[in-house]
């Protein structure tokens, strides 16, 4: 009961914050969750009045949330099955992204993150919602620096230390993992392939989404697999490792140098979200 009340308080605060940042989709989802929590609280109260020992375990009430596909929750509630705590968002979007990034352990594009999430976690991340994510995180960081345990931030291009186009990273990673040199896209791809292959080995019965994801990596790594039907995750990881050996040293050198430069030259926000080139005297230069 206490934990439910705590959860209610937290949810209300979240709704208020989401409303303040004008995130309509999140407000809607959170309010649905809030309503469900209130209903749970009512039920618990009713059980208390009936002198029935109410087994309130927040972990229990959250666990089914994660596995349910989005959208089905509303139908369940409408059917009146109030005893099943119904969906809303599974995890907040940024946590889903964080989860996928942590699995890959390298900066990645939204499309790949979405595929990883579908393969190993709760389901697809709508990539349209990812477009504003980095900007929101940056705004949040600038208004209250280091208020969150982690931020979803940019990967930086090695040469200009500007945000790399379309890549997300986690602020807690060391700088040299977030820097993208000329060889890094390939190195990151191979590292991600290894991580995906390892995760594939860990789960008991990989679904078609996981199979597809692994094949997408295996198909483009020399010697990784003959065909989509007979691939072996361990072979994929070995092949990726073999090619990684070729590029690793050069890439590491470039990254370490750039990371050192970034740490020296950029302020906190710049280190996380990159510095943009400031143009001067463009009017004259444009015509030349």
């Amino acid at each position: 009961m206490e934990s439910l009340e705590r959860r209610l308080g937290m949810l209300r605060a979240e709704v208020r914050r989401a409303a303040a940042s004008r995130d309509a989709a999140r407000v809607r989802a959170l309010r649905a969750e809030l309503r469900n929590a209130e209903r749970d609280w009512d039920d618990a109260l009713a059980r208390l009045e009936d002198k029935q020992p109410a087994a309130e375990d927040p972990a229990m009430s959250q666990a089914p949330l994660r596995t349910r596909p989005e959208g089905s929750g509303a139908a369940v509630v409408a059917a009146g099955a109030a005893t099943i705590p119904a969906a809303g968002p599974l995890l907040p979007l940024r946590e889903q992204v964080h989860q996928a990034l942590t699995l890959l352990d390298v900066p990645a594009a939204p499309k790949l993150l979405s595929a990883v999430n579908e393969a190993f976690f709760a389901g697809l991340i709508p990539s349209a919602r990812l477009t504003s994510l980095r900007r929101d995180e940056e705004r949040s960081f600038r208004s209250a620096p280091f208020a969150r345990p982690y931020y979803l931030c940019a990967a930086l291009t090695a040469e200009l230390l500007a945000p790399a186009r379309g890549l997300l990273a986690v602020s807690t990673w060391p700088m040299d993992r977030r820097v993208i040199g000329p060889l890094s896209p390939r190195v990151n791809y191979l590292s991600a392939a290894i991580r995906v292959a390892e995760s594939f080995l860990r789960i008991r019965s990989p679904g078609p989404a996981a199979q597809r994801l692994l094949w997408r990596f295996a198909a483009n790594i020399p010697g990784a697999a003959d065909g989509a039907r007979n691939m072996d995750p361990a072979t994929v990881a070995r092949a990726a490792q073999a090619e990684l050996q070729v590029h690793a040293d050069d890439d590491r050198a470039a990254r370490t140098a750039a990371a050192g430069r970034a740490r020296r030259q950029l302020d906190d926000a710049g280190q996380l979200f990159g510095s943009r080139l400031r143009l001067t005297g463009q009017a004259g230069a444009g015509r030349a």
Binding site: P182, R186, Y189, A219, R276, L277, Q282, A285
Partner: protein
């Protein structure tokens, strides 16, 4: 040169010239004999606007669906540091394993200004052309510049791959399918000529840096979806011939002077726009001016020129409008009316028409035999 610029400026009127792109430069080569098109292109006339103003709007432009499909396929091929493209280049063209370096030139430090991107492209390609070691392999969306009719045009190939056999290769990603090793001939031809524009621009850039044209391969890499899947497949395409045609066409644009000299001095295609951009020139008067410049209409124009409907209307009744094959057969017989007259014997052929007239009479006889006397 100043004279000709002033003259072209007068023809264009008081508006900035239209910029070319790879598509329009490629279209220049499709009908080299057309003076109307040559003058309009050299003067940078806004042809779609002109055509619709004189009452013959062309239903032109690429379909939004085609653009979206093309972009999606390109993004797929280039995803994850060009993973799929690297596989293709390795499997089919023998790109060495260590060559995976990738530089994104679509943005420079978060900016997309053309000037900045061109400068960066230049510096990166210079470094790659000069140095042997770690100078980059794949350059995504470089911005090249080509002088067309004395004006610089910015061009953006999909990708340039370097150090495939020691040379730069232009990579063109297209979303039309290659089915069972065969692709639509027209589309391949269009892709080849567009790529040739990029090769030319690339050679011009390297020439400014003192590197010979052989540093850019005349084979371009065409990447298309294979069969009915989304799996990309790469093909080498030799664009030697297209390069020659383009070179000739572009030098002809530079020699536009003689062509303009043949036109009446008062000629102008000015729409007489007012402050708000509303045209005031009587459409009929403008159409008359357009007619003074001779065109060479052929049905192929419908695929590449915005003035096509105007010229087709003008060419009605002429044998040229029947297509190049028919026009070649008919030789000096210029109008359909004359052809019919020669066929039924009511007209007597001139010396240079005798051969065509004999053919026509023979065709008329065969037709009568087939259809009987009723026809």
């Amino acid at each position: 040169m100043h004279d000709i610029d002033a003259r072209l400026g007068r023809i264009r009127g008081d508006v900035p010239p239209q910029a070319h792109n790879a598509r329009t430069i490629a279209a220049l080569t499709s009908n080299p004999g057309c003076a109307r098109r040559a003058i309009m292109d050299a003067a940078g006339i806004d042809k779609p606007r002109l055509a619709s103003y004189i009452g013959f709007p062309a239903p032109f432009g690429q379909s939004q669906f085609a653009i979206t499909r093309g972009n999606a396929f390109e993004a797929q091929v280039k995803a994850n540091g060009c993973a799929e493209l690297l596989r293709l280049l390795r499997e089919q063209l023998g790109l060495p394993i260590p060559e995976v370096s990738y530089d994104d030139l679509e943005e420079v430090g978060g900016h997309r200004s053309q000037h900045l991107r061109h400068a960066r492209t230049r510096s990166l390609l210079t470094r790659a052309a000069g140095a042997g070691g770690d100078a980059g392999t794949l350059f995504d969306h470089p911005l090249l510049r080509l002088d067309v009719g004395g004006r610089p045009v910015y061009l953006e190939p999909d990708l340039i791959a370097f150090r495939l056999g020691g040379r730069f290769h232009v990579v063109e990603i297209k979303s039309f399918a290659v089915i069972d090793g065969q692709a639509d001939g027209d589309k391949v031809a269009a892709a080849a000529i567009q790529s040739a524009v990029y090769v030319l621009a690339m050679r011009q850039l390297l020439a400014e840096l003192g590197t010979g044209p052989e540093a850019v391969a005349r084979e371009v890499v065409l990447v298309c979806p294979e069969n009915f899947s989304n799996r990309p497949v790469a093909t080498l395409l030799d664009v030697r011939q297209q390069l020659t045609v383009l070179g000739r066409q572009l030098s002809r644009l530079d020699r536009i002077e003689s062509l303009v000299g043949l036109q009446p001095p008062g000629l102008t295609f000015d729409l007489e726009l007012d402050q708000a951009g509303v045209p005031h020139r009587p459409a009929a008067e403008l159409a008359d001016d357009v007619r003074t410049v001779p065109a060479r209409y052929a049905p192929e124009c419908l695929a590449s020129c915005e003035m096509c409907f105007f010229c087709r209307d003008e060419a009605r009744g002429q044998t040229a409008a029947l297509g190049r094959a028919a026009a070649d057969e008919l030789g000096a017989v210029h109008s359909v009316q004359m052809a019919l007259g020669l066929a039924d014997g009511t007209l007597t052929p001139a010396d240079d028409q005798a051969e065509a007239a004999a053919l026509l009479r023979e065709a008329a006889r065969l037709r009568r035999e087939c259809l009987g006397e009723t026809a």
